[in-house]
């Protein structure tokens, strides 16, 4: 019997990619002949391959032998590793949220301050509570980044919108 369609992360990714590739094919019709050749060719090939993949998936669903993918976290060489229990395990969406907040903080507060905040917040949210390590680590990380990249390598690190508003030029 055919199984019910479930909206997993993988399915969301497939739908998004199909949409984007279709859009790229549509857009390529506006390109010059030479510029359009490869984008058209590659887009059509990808869409055809997705067609094959979907047919393959449907066939294996009908047979009922599709490998169950519960989305368990596995990566190269990690299959046989047991999950650790010492720290809290963060869901990917929370990690993503923290990263996005960190990026927004860099834009607002600059690299130094936001790195201290992120360096303190992430381990804490991940359940690591050794304050004697977390505080010096967060501070050291920010100082090292500023000294190595900002001062030594002369990379103009973002100073933050707020700082720029308070002290323009």
């Amino acid at each position: 019997m055919m199984k019910k369609f479930t909206l997993t992360l993988e399915n969301i990714m497939i739908i998004t990619v199909i949409f984007l590739v279709s859009a790229s094919l549509y857009l390529s019709f506006d390109f010059m002949r030479m510029s359009a050749l490869f984008p058209k060719l590659v887009s059509i090939t990808i869409l055809a391959l997705f067609g094959i993949l979907i047919v393959m998936k449907l066939c294996s669903r009908e047979k009922g032998n599709e490998p169950e993918s519960n989305g368990a976290v596995t990566c190269q060489g990690e299959d046989d590793l047991k999950p650790a229990t010492t720290d809290r395990r963060l869901h990917w969406s929370l990690s993503l949220l923290l990263m996005t907040v960190y990026l927004a903080l860099i834009f607002l507060l600059g690299f130094g301050l936001s790195t201290i905040i992120y360096g303190l917040a992430f381990p804490y949210i991940a359940g690591y509570r050794k304050h004697k390590i977390i505080y010096p680590y967060a501070l050291a990380m920010a100082v090292i980044i500023i000294m190595v990249f900002g001062k030594f390598f002369q990379i103009p690190l973002p100073e933050g919108l707020i700082f720029e508003l308070i002290m323009p030029e």
């Binding site: 997993t8 992360l9 993988e10 990714m13 990619v17 390109f31 010059m32 030479m34 510029s35 490869f38 984008p39 590659v42 887009s43 090939t45 990808i46 391959l49 993949l53 393959m56 989305g71 976290v73 596995t74 990566c75 190269q76 060489g77 990690e78 299959d79 047991k82 999950p83 650790a84 229990t85 010492t86 720290d87 395990r89 963060l90 990917w92 929370l94 990690s95 993503l96 990263m99 996005t100 960190y102 990026l103 860099i106 834009f107 992120y118 360096g119 992430f122 381990p123 991940a126 359940g127 690591y128 390590i133 977390i134 680590y137 990380m141 980044i145 390598f153 990379i155 103009p156 973002p158």
Partner: protein, 495 residues
Amino acid sequence: MLEMWFEGFLVAISGANLLYLLVGTFFGLIVGALPGLGANFALALALPMTFWMEPASAIILMCALHASATYGGSIASILINAPGTVGSVATCWDGHPLAQQGKARLALSIAAASSFAGGLIGWIMIIVITPFLVALALKMGPPEYFMIALIALSLLSLAAQGQTVKGLILGGLGVLISFVGRDPMTGMPRYTFGSLYLEDGIPLIAVAVGLFALSQAFIMAEKGGTIAETYEMKGSMLEGFLYVIKRPLAIARAAIVGILMGIIPALGVSTANIVSYFIEKKASKDPEQFGKGHPSGVLAPEASNNGCIVGELVPTLTLGIPGASPQALLLAALIMHGIQPGPDYFEKGALPYAVFIGVLLAQFAFFIVGTSLAKYFAMVCKIPNAILVSMVTILCFIGAYAWRHTLIDVGIMIVFALFGYILIRYKWPHACFILGFVLGKLVESNFHRSLLMSETYSTFFTRPGSLGMIIFLGLMFFWPLISKTAVRFIRMNGK
């Protein structure tokens, strides 16, 4: 001739030059080990500092930087699964699983020894075959470059690890995303939506760091604990060296791939390490172990990397064509110091020879410094993931930002990190994506250049080099069928 080599040797080992060699090695190792940065960054930074140096010192410093930054990339790849440079993407695939098994020291020693061996083989081969290669390189045109890129792209089927359709989809996606930006042939913006940022294309650093490093941060955060299950660091440095010494064929194979990729302009380490990885996998008796912590999965990409950077010197020094962007910086340094590279490069006194000796000494320098510090690098595996994930994230952020000084690159990296995470989670062969991304524009631009040159498709079949490669590609494609038929034929005749 021998006198010149000796004179060059004396110049290279003078006190100040040895000091620059060591400084370059230390600096290169640090920059290489920082995710996202790499040889380009190190050389670009060092270039203005060499203004006041003697020409030999400047070039030796830059050669040391290049060699050690390329090796340094493997450190971050192995320990935190973040490719330190674009040339150490393939090293992650088996290097990090080895670190997860508590064998970080073994992986690091294999990386050091194979990088050294690759560089050494590259150096010897370059010295011997440079004159022949110059003649050959002068005969190669866009059709040959197109065919070479196509052969490299055909490795997608190997990279797919048995999931051919998914691998081809990802490879195609990589190719498609490489088209974002101005078309190098017509100058027409494609998929830029009027954005000036997108006209330069999607940056490789942001894609590679996001797909391979930051995506791993999600996984490390979900796993908790530490990278290595055990606190014990299994595997000794000696074990790693012996592993490499016992595999001269694998080293030679990878080094040759690296040298060839280096000689051909525009391919470079980003292609060499991936291609040599899959060639090694194909040649291996236990290919199914690749991706799960096979030591040869570290050996091959690392040997080819350092072979490649030596190979890149051939077009740079003898034709004045930089094989890759770090070589362009080296070329700038040479010209800045009054050395004009070209076919008569070796007829310019002792300095060109000193440069070659400097390249050789750079291999020894990073090997000695790298191996003596490897055990300290390996301690990273003991850091709790709660701390390490934030460290990796911060380094990835600064790595993606540092190259073009824009936070948009960081945003792009986060998008690719999420994409990479989904691919890893559902076991899609994500290596295919980067292979397509690296080779996409190369295939397209050389195809169009070939057609512009001859205005007919027959150019691919009438040029001997291109035709030879088409036959090779055909053989590769039909090899399973050919070998099966041949076996059946032999069995029937035997009966």
